[in-house]
Amino acid sequence: MNGSAHVYARAHINTDEIIPARYLNMDQEKDLACHAMEDIDTDFIKKVQKGDVIVAGEDFGCGSSREHAVWALRGSGIQAIIAESFARIFYRNCINNGFPAIECPGIGKKINTGDRLTVDLSKGKIYNETQNTEYNFLPIPDFAREIIDAGGLLKAIAKKGKL
C-alpha cells in the first residue's frame, strides 16, 4: 500500500465528523464519500486521492456505531487508517469490512500531511518516504487478519457457512 498522508492529530475525531448523521438517509459508498470529513475539513474530499492514508490521534472513530463512517472514508479513496488508538465499534467495523485499522501509538505527531507512506501489513511497518524513516505498528491480531484476508466478515461467513 502506498499513498499520501492526511493527518488529523487531534484525539476523539468522532463518527459525526467523519460522516454527519444528516447523510445517513443514504447507504451507498459513493454517495457517502462526497461528504467524508465534511464538518471538520471541507477540503478533504477535494484533496484525497485513491490509495491515501488517514493518520490520526487517539480514540479515532468514537461515537455512533454507523459503519457509514468506514464506507465514506473507503469510498473517498482512503485505503487504511493509522491512529494512536481506535474507538471500539469503529475498529470492529473496519475489521469486519476487511479495511486496515492500524494502531501506532505516538504516530499523530510524527507524520505530516502530504508525506508519502508505504504500509506493509505483514511486516507491521510503515515507511515514510518523505522523511526517510520507518515506524513499527502493533501487529493486527490474527483473528482480525483472517477477516481482512477473507475480504470481510460476511465473505468469511459465506465461505465457511458459519461464524
Binding site: A11, H12, D16, L24, N25, S65, H68, N97, I157, L163
Partner: protein
C-alpha cells in the same frame, strides 16, 4: 477468582463455564434489534454474500426510529425496504408508526429486555439495556448482518470497571448528572473497550428508567457496555413487561476489576456538558451566563415518562422565555399517551413548548429541531459533537430534563434546584 456479571453472561452464551477478559469468543445472541439507519446495508450485504437469510426470525425486533415519521423520500425508501425484507424473512416483531418509539426506550417497554440475555443493535446506545442486567452492546451493519445470518457474534471479553456510587442525591440532581460527572472525570475514552458496572447505595435507590440513563451513556466513555446487577427493582420491572423466562446473574464478591472507582454524590450539583464533547461536564453553577435558542427534551437517554414528569414539575405554571424554542419529544407512543393522560403535555404546551411524535429526530441532526449556524441548544440527549444537532457552527449543551426545563424558562443555562421537583 470469581467472575463479573458480564463474564458470566458471555460464558453462558459461548457454551463455556467461565471466560476471562481478553479472550475471543463466539457468543449466541438472544435479541437482535434493527432500526432504520443501519439495517438496510445489512440486508444488502446478506443478499450479496451468498443470499444469506435470517437464522432465527423470532429473535429479531424491528424498530425504525431515527428519521421517523419519515423525514424525506430517501428515509421513506429505507423503511419501505426494511418492511419488505421483514415480510420475506417472516419477522413479526415490527413496531411501525402508531406503536413506534426510540428503540432503546421501546425495547424494554415492550418486554424484549430480560436479565442474563445478550442483545445487539446497530446503534451505539444499545448499552442502555445493561440497566436490566443484560449484556447489550452496539455494533455496525456488518456485525448486524452476521448476527442475523448466524445468531452469533465474535466478542473480545471486556475487562470491567466497577463504579461504586454512594451518598444521597441532592434535590434536583439526577442520574444524568451522575453520568455526566463520571464522564467528566474519566474522559470520552476512559472506559474504552471495557464494561462499566455500576453499584452502590445510589443505584439501589434509582428507578429502572434512571438506571437506563446511566447505562445509556456508557458509550460516551468509550465502553463496550454499561451494566447493573439485577435486584428487586429490576425483577419487578421485567415481570411487569414480559412473561418470558430469564436467568439472573450477579457479579461474585471476588470478581476481578481492572479499576474500582468510588463516587460520593452527596455534594453533586446539576451538570452541563459544554460543546463539543460529553466529557466537558461542569456544574451548572460554574457554567457562566450562556443564553440559549432552543431546549430539546427527549431521546433514548432522557425521553421516558419519568423524564417528562421531572421537566413538567419545573415548568408547571411557568412560561418558556421569549425567543426560546422548546421541543418535547416523548420517546415512545406509550410514553406519549401516558404523558397525555397525566396532563404533562398540557403543561408543556401551556408553557409555550411544542410536542412532537416519538423520534430520534434532532438528537442526531435528523429532523424536528435542527439548529442554524450560531445557535445554542440545551438538550437532554447524549452527544454534543460538532454538528450533532445541525449546523457545524451550532452548539449543543447536555443536561438533565430538569435542567433543560429550567433553562427553557430562563432563556439561558439555568440551575433547576430552585424550582419545584417531581
Amino acid at each position: 477468582m470469581g467472575s463479573t456479571i458480564t463474564e458470566k453472561i458471555l460464558a453462558l452464551h459461548a457454551g463455556r463455564d467461565t471466560v476471562k477478559p481478553g479472550e475471543l469468543i463466539n457468543a449466541g445472541i438472544d435479541v437482535i434489534m434493527c432500526h432504520d439507519v443501519t439495517t438496510t446495508p445489512a440486508i444488502d450485504m446478506m443478499k450479496a454474500n451468498g443470499d444469506l437469510h435470517v437464522a432465527y426470525p423470532e429473535r429479531v425486533v424491528i424498530m425504525p426510529d431515527h428519521f421517523v415519521p419519515n423525514k424525506d423520500i430517501k428515509s421513506a425508501e429505507m423503511v419501505a425496504k426494511i418492511r419488505r425484507w421483514a415480510k420475506e424473512e417472516k419477522i413479526d416483531k415490527f413496531y411501525d408508526i402508531g406503536r413506534h418509539g426510540v428503540c432503546h426506550a421501546l425495547l424494554p417497554e415492550q418486554g424484549h429486555v430480560r436479565p442474563g440475555t445478550t442483545i445487539v443493535c446497530g446503534d451505539s446506545h444499545t448499552c442502555t439495556h445493561g440497566a436490566l442486567g443484560a449484556f447489550a452492546t452496539g455494533i455496525g451493519s456488518t456485525d448486524l448482518a452476521a448476527a442475523l445470518a448466524t445468531g452469533e457474534l465474535w466478542f473480545k471479553v471486556p475487562e470491567s470497571i466497577l463504579f461504586r456510587i454512594n451518598g444521597a442525591l441532592p434535590k434536583g440532581v439526577y442520574a444524568k448528572d451522575v453520568i455526566l460527572y463520571i464522564i467528566s472525570q474519566i474522559g470520552v475514552d476512559g472506559a474504552l473497550y471495557k464494561a462499566m458496572e455500576f453499584t452502590g447505595d445510589v443505584i439501589d435507590f434509582l428507578s429502572v428508567e434512571s438506571r437506563m440513563t446511566l447505562c445509556n451513556m456508557a458509550i460516551e466513555a468509550g465502553a463496550k457496555t454499561g451494566i447493573i446487577n439485577p435486584d428487586e427493582t429490576t425483577l419487578e420491572y421485567v415481570r411487569a413487561h414480559s412473561n418470558e423466562h430469564f436467568d439472573v446473574f450477579h457479579s461474585d464478591p471476588d470478581a476481578e476489576y481492572s479499576q474500582i472507582i468510588d463516587i460520593d454524590v452527596t455534594n453533586l450539583e446539576p451538570m452541563v456538558a459544554l460543546p463539543h464533547l460529553p466529557s466537558n461536564g461542569k456544574p451548572v453553577s460554574q457554567a457562566g451566563n450562556i443564553p440559549i435558542d432552543q431546549a430539546w427534551l427527549g431521546s433514548c437517554t432522557n425521553g421516558r415518562i419519568e423524564d417528562l414528569r421531572k421537566a413538567a414539575a419545573v415548568m408547571r405554571g411557568n412560561k418558556v422565555a421569549k425567543g426560546v424554542r422548546m421541543i418535547v419529544v416523548p420517546a415512545t407512543t406509550q410514553i406519549w399517551k401516558q404523558a397525555s393522560r397525566e396532563g404533562l403535555l398540557d403543561i408543556f404546551m401551556e408553557a409555550g413548548a411544542t410536542v412532537s411524535a416519538p423520534t430520534c429526530g434532532a438528537c442526531l441532526g435528523g429532523h424536528m429541531g435542527i439548529l442554524a449556524a450560531g445557535e445554542r441548544c440545551i438538550s437532554s440527549t447524549n452527544r454534543n459533537f460538532i454538528g450533532r444537532m445541525g449546523s457545524p457552527e451550532s452548539e449543543v449543551y447536555l443536561a438533565s430534563p430538569a435542567t433543560v426545563a429550567a433553562s427553557a424558562l430562563e432563556g439561558k443555562i439555568a440551575n433547576p434546584t430552585t424550582y419545584k421537583q417531581d
